[in-house]
Symmetry: none
Subunit: 143 residues, 2 copies
Amino acid sequence: MTKQIDVKSTILCGISMAILLFILKWLELRFVVFDHLFEVYAAIISVIFMVLGAWLMHNFQQRKLEKENAKQEIVAVPELGLSQREMEVLMLMSQGYTNQQIADKLFLSIHTIKTHGSNLFVKLDVKNRTQALIKAKELEILE
Amino acid sequence: MTKQIDVKSTILCGISMAILLFILKWLELRFVVFDHLFEVYAAIISVIFMVLGAWLMHNFQQRKLEKENAKQEIVAVPELGLSQREMEVLMLMSQGYTNQQIADKLFLSIHTIKTHGSNLFVKLDVKNRTQALIKAKELEILE
DNA sequence: CGTAATTTCATACTAAAGTATGAGGATCGA
DNA sequence: TCGATCCTCATACTTTAGTATGAAATTACG
């Protein structure tokens, strides 16, 4: 997918450059015919290459966006195998408590809470507690 | 907001064009001195204007994206005095994005996001983003 | 009984979040 | 034009969060 895009992009760019060079040569001939028209010549290729630059950038941005949008994956795994403690920690996390507060409530070390937290995030396939509670609600684990 | 951007964009564009014309004129002089260097002259202004075109398109795209992201118009603004930007940041926070990701989406510095975040937490009377999103849902600001 | 899973705690680290403060530009209404 | 507000960015700092790894005790099950 990515390779394909890059190849296509390269080919398009090459073809564009070739056409541009051809036009340039053609303009040069006309320039010789109508001598002393530096400004006209310069203006024409300026416009042409500005458009080319804009077009290339436009394509580049488009590709970039496409890649980003293609990243979304849907996993949806109900069988998560969350343990008792992990559920408790998840509940308290989703109520806005810090790790230290959770540790105090459960009479545990903050290290333990962090451990449960990390394991929790792996099982839920998230990166932090905010995403965890969002996912938990999606999966109807909470509320 | 939009006017501001357009004004700035126009000014930047104008200045760029002015500088470019100046460079062009300068190149033309050199061209007269070193006669018969059509190709060199053409190549230089080609590159310059291609870069200019790419740059302009890049700016244009960014503005466009920014507008799109801002399109999720947040209407519900109670007596909390949340500003537009603060609401946007709150929305993205509540979707599980990190400060850096939010900064990227809004084309802002992470410092700015943190500033908005802090102000946000004061206004919502919370201590962190998790509590913020809980409170936001309670107040029916979100969803 | 042995094994697997769970729970607990720890150290050591990196990454992210959050606070405090200042500053400059843009906007808008009086 | 002036002041208030918002938006932006920055530096410097402290605090939480999160990861990686290891280890010991407990429990449950075949």
